[in-house]
Amino acid sequence: MIEITAKGLILAAPFVVILGFWALALRERRLSGHPGERGFFARNGIVISTYLLVAVGFWALLLIVLPQIYMIDFSFHPKLLPREVGGPKDVYTLENYRYFLYGSTTSTENWNTTHIKAFWTTIVASIAVTFLNFCLCYPLAFYMAQSARPAQLRLVLLMLITPFWVNEILRAFAFRVLLSSGGVVNTSLMALGLTSEPIDFLGNDVGLYAGLSYAYLLMMMFPLYNAIESLDHNQIEAARDLGAPWWHIHAFVVMPHAKPGIASGCTMVFMLSAGALAAPMVLGGPRSLWFTPIVFDRFYQAFNWPQGSAYAIILLLSCIAFVLAVMRIFKVSLGEITR
């Protein structure tokens, strides 16, 4: 019985929210002092209004909001057989989260070091990849935004965009071909006499980090470029005329101005790296553990969907925490990040 009410509540909640919205809209309209302004239906006509409401309602409710809420609810349930759903075993529990911490659904004696370590590696490596990408992209973004001529700019933009239309798996595969023990890098190194044995780039995760940084380069480049582009070139000239050394100009003129772009690029790259699945699966060495493949295995190897959901939520929460931290550090608002 409890089960039905809980699910019913989840399904009902959005409709309550919509009613709230409606009330808010009516109130705003009354307050705005334009009572003559036409309402939604009068403005669009019945047919179009229905299309708009059905399309947006379907998307926002059935594809975005409800699945997420449902997943949260699901993660607090034990793994059940289909006939046990709604039965006495179908209760709320923390066991899926407990499993992440302790590696067992009941005992709390040993830490689940494998999963916790993988989680931390993922977070720390994603931050490192984010930082690396910032360093790689900043000079080119600055050049594109402030010094390039229009024709050069178009060429550079096209060259940047082209590789990113290539599928993520194939990009990872390309790195594997490049870095494998018989690959171009190793054969060149050996031919040059720099090393006598092939270096195991994939085993020690160099391949993974390179592949991740490569995969999300563009997500850093464009926000940075957009932000630096809006800086008036005269400000740089003024700083130069006043005798500022070049690194002063970057640290105290360009970067403060580009702060929203930096924050936005960092958020995107971090989110995508932490949630990356293809690169770790293709490029990860036998000893490396990334968090998303573990989530995948919870689903399709262990067939424990509630536990997989719990892991997914842990990932989602850490991503949200990262965004909030970035907003706090850079002192920018969400609107500026998603611009």
Partner: protein, 292 residues
């Protein structure tokens, strides 16, 4: 040598490194598709061969995956483009606090990791289809279309939003004053204005769907698309026929990407012309795109 030359040389060196990093891996993979050794390698280049391409055509799994990918891609276009259009139009009609909440909700799929979108879609729709008695809908193709549309619709919406920013409401008013009904205005004024955006968002939707892995691998269940077949193969081991497939996919996606770029450019040029023609733009402040 003064400091400017040094800095220029350093920047040149950096640019070379950057673009080698960007194109090197793809180039090496491309060359390995035409090289004879059975382990994919570009150097030493032993002999030119098309054998690896011939191997592909006989691969039943890949061909099956390709078919599913195309079906899903078309489904995503059919769902995401109308939804994105509706969402963008609604965006122009909500104000104040409602707008920021609405914007937060509809942009969130862009920021959510793809695996999470896939997982939540499967879990929710499994129960929804079972409860509503339509469990035949619980199949990989249908779920993949839904899961991908969750974020592809947001991409489409951003494309439409940036186009709508340049729409002059006076056109709509004029048509209404001349006696047009609302559906007529929508059909004869707004849709023609949005036509280029519809084309480019359809291309964008198909490409994003075709190359998606993170969301699809969860939502596809036991079925398979070209990319999931590919992922399975890559995990098993590397053969030059994968490089050959990569060359084909790269060629297809590049053709699509160039088509998309051309559409976008044409639209931009037209927009610039329109802007010149009508100098009094009364835009409403609107959040602009971050993706694409």
């Amino acid at each position: 040598m003064n400091s400017t030359t040094v800095r220029k040389a350093m920047f040149g060196f950096y640019t070379v490194i950057f673009f080698t990093y960007l194109f090197g891996p793809l180039l090496v993979m491309g060359i390995s598709a035409f090289n004879t050794p059975s382990y994919p390698t570009a150097w030493p280049f032993e002999a030119f061969t098309l054998k690896w391409f011939a191997d592909l055509a006989t691969d039943a799994d890949m061909m099956y995956g390709l078919k599913t990918s195309i079906i899903i891609g078309l489904g995503v276009v059919a769902l995401s483009v109308p939804v994105g259009l509706a969402a963008a139009i609604v965006m122009t009609q909500v104000y104040h606090r409602a707008r920021s909440i609405y914007y937060l909700i509809v942009v969130s799929p862009v920021l959510t990791p793809g695996v999470i979108l896939g997982i939540s879609t499967v879990i929710f729709w499994k129960d929804l289809t079972t409860v509503s008695g339509a469990s035949w809908l619980f199949n990989g193709v249908f779920l993949a279309i839904l899961g991908q549309s969750t974020f592809v619709s947001a991409y489409c919406m951003l494309v439409f939003t940036s186009r709508l920013q340049r729409f002059d409401r006076a056109q709509e008013e004029a048509a209404l004053d001349l006696g047009a009904t609302y559906p007529q205005v929508f059909r004869h004024v707004l849709l023609p204005f949005l036509a280029p955006a519809i084309a480019s968002s359809a291309v964008l939707a198909f490409l994003s769907s075709f190359e998606n892995y993170n969301t699809t691998t969860f939502a596809i269940l036991a079925d398979k698309t070209l990319v999931t077949v590919l992922a399975g193969r890559v995990r098993q081991g590397t053969t030059p026929s994968l490089s050959a497939l990569a060359v084909i996919i790269v060629a297809i996606t590049l053709a699509g990407a160039i088509a998309y770029e051309l559409l976008r450019r044409r639209e931009e040029r037209r927009a610039a012309a329109e802007k010149l023609a009508a100098e009094q733009t009364r835009d409403t402040p609107m959040p602009t795109s971050l993706a694409a």
